[in-house]
Point group: C2
Chain length 199, copies 2
Amino acid sequence: MNYFPAALQDLADQFARLPGIGSKTAQRLAFHVLGLPQEEAEAFAEAILEAKRTVHTCPVCQNLTDRELCPICDNDLRDHGQICVVAEPKDVIAMERSREFNGVYHVLHGVISPLNHVTQDDIRIKELLHRVATSQVREIIMATNPDTEGEATAMYISRLLRPMEVKVTRLAYGVPVGSQLEYADEVTLSRALEGRQEI
Amino acid sequence: MNYFPAALQDLADQFARLPGIGSKTAQRLAFHVLGLPQEEAEAFAEAILEAKRTVHTCPVCQNLTDRELCPICDNDLRDHGQICVVAEPKDVIAMERSREFNGVYHVLHGVISPLNHVTQDDIRIKELLHRVATSQVREIIMATNPDTEGEATAMYISRLLRPMEVKVTRLAYGVPVGSQLEYADEVTLSRALEGRQEI
């Protein structure tokens, strides 16, 4: 038997469908929203609709934006000949935080992952190839996550790019700054050794 | 600098205001909602508004309901002379799950908690007193949580009820069924000993 009013149960069900939210947490969230003042609950509902209404992908780099072109693609001071390829919009933010990169981005919106039924056609690879074919690109920097799927996706894309005569590079592997050697795993260490540089 | 479109950031901020949701999780949830089909996003927003619109507290027991009277208060087969006082609507569900109680409930919507600035006037104590004064109540069963604030609230209410000539009882303390004695804390054990019963 269900002791919750139907509308409360519906709301809890909506929360439970979000990633990482279990049914207990969903219930707690539904109670919380129900306890909000009317205008705050309306603001929440409106925020969902407004995000869906105004946010779309940039036609050039596929990053999320609410403008015609995203602020980075629209910036003439950035080097449009250098494209950093990342898996997700949040990776753009991580790269920007480093303040080291002045090129532009390409967001794949995922990585190739046969186990999760994500094929090369499900992520924005076509758009990248089209971009390289139709504009002056000197270098593609692959910056997918350094895990199996990120690696495989980077390799797949770099093979597609080979005939297009563009330089393709990959973020360096190595020990993270501020970390301790004794905790570094052996694969990272051997990659760090391989990529050692003169000082 | 903020690299998210404003509407996406707004949505993430809305999620971040929910209890137990940090800013990283809020961001992930906002991305997820943005990726939903239009009609599912609309259903989510509508569920928030619908819950606010239809769910209110039962005028008798203060539990949440979408009817005039909640199904329990509206049920003539339940014993309306026995009121179980709980802190939250979810506690009603826990009690109902035991299938042992055939009385009715009173939901306080909180416990007295000076540290969180919740006073006796912020929870539904007046409504309980009014109910006891105006209807035939034989017994009040205090079933607030067995922690400091739940205890203090139960004690406070039972003092208010004393002049009203109604029997006031408390859920029994003891070792949980299916638990192991070696893991029971000493306060629980001494309460279990105190409340021992002949077999």
